[in-house]
Amino acid sequence: MSVYLRLYWEFFKTGLFAVGGGMATLPFLKDIGQSTGWYTYTDLMNMLAVSESTPGPIGINMATYVGFTVGGIPGAVIATLGEVTPSIIVILIVAMMLKKFRDNRYVNMAFYGLRPASTGLIGAACVAVVLEVMIGIKVLAADGALVNTFQLAGEALIKWPGVLLAAVLLVLTNVVKPVKDWHPIVFIAFSAVVGIVFRFAGV
């Protein structure tokens, strides 16, 4: 299958099954990277950082970025179109029977289960990034699940500078007023500076 067709299909599935906005696409993008080998989880996190720091919906920015990484500008366009196609189809159908949809018992029941599941999927993605970035365990080799690919990425098991920065950021983004209401781009920029000053990549 041509890479563009595969790209469109993978993003079509993402757009169809990711419920709850941009961040909900993350587990699917992780899955695409693992099953195709197009990019690593570290690549994906860099893309997420750029997507958070640029204008536009995060989900669309990530789709465009992944598409660009895989197939240049045509890839960017195709991935984005793939992701929005299910939305357009679903919304056009829902719009035709708006009243029925809003009051439908089964729709409400399904969403009772869907919302926590979507949160759980993003939570699992969070566990994987924390292990990889802060504990120095390479969790997501291109071929396997977390449990069978545990391996040490470097010599140190726990990356203390990263843990320390994370602790500072957690406090800044949740406790300190008015800092906690600042746009994420501020914290991303701050972390970039800390990374450069303290040589986080070890080079």
Binding site: G21, F68, F101, G120, F198
Partner: protein, 180 residues
């Protein structure tokens, strides 16, 4: 034809101005399509936004499609969405090209290593925020826990969890009705 252009540019403008995704978009959207263009009413936009959150896909895209179709049917829905994503495609393609060219530089690598820590925290915060809205009782807590653990340890597509959770929601709610 003129209205389609107007839709495209209005939503393209929205795409540039929303910094941070769907949730940041609502106030700007209200000002633009309710107050200045008078395309939809306040109530309609709240409905669209609510449905946009509980249908698959990106919330901003869903809302844009909804407004577009209200004004100009199917073509309106498609054009509004294309307008919304247009700036992202341009901006990200340019940035991605630049970053690829500079990724060999030591300071760029160090910067991204720092940024990755920040991304961890941002994802964690997003999960915490979503938890408050989605885990409302013991059963939703169980669904969250099962999906979280399952997704960490099993190598299956997230789509299966989504389908199973929708079915579980329907079953659990039905049991609840019968139990009363």
């Amino acid at each position: 034809m003129k209205i389609l252009w107007e839709l495209f540019w209005t939503f393209a403008k929205m795409g540039v101005m929303t910094f941070g995704g769907g949730y940041a978009m609502l106030p700007i959207l209200q000002r633009e399509v309710v107050e200045s263009k008078r395309w939809v009413t306040e109530e309609e936009i709240m409905d669209y936004y609510a449905i946009g959150q509980c249908t698959p896909g990106i919330i901003a895209v869903n809302t844009a499609t909804f407004i577009g179709q209200k004004i100009r049917g199917i073509s309106g829905g498609i054009v509004a969405t294309l307008g919304l994503v247009f700036p992202s495609v341009v901006i990200i393609s340019v940035l991605a090209g630049l970053i690829t060219n500079f990724s060999h530089l030591v300071w760029v690598q160090n910067a991204f290593a720092g940024i990755q820590v920040c991304v961890c925290v941002l994802i964690f915060n997003a999960v915490m925020k979503l938890l408050k809205k989605s885990v409302v009782d013991k059963r939703t807590a169980a669904i969250f826990a099962v999906v979280l653990v399952g997704s960490v340890f099993l190598r299956i597509s997230p789509a299966w969890f989504v389908i199973a959770a929708a079915v579980a929601g329907i079953i659990l709610k039905n049991l609840e009705v019968k139990g009363k």
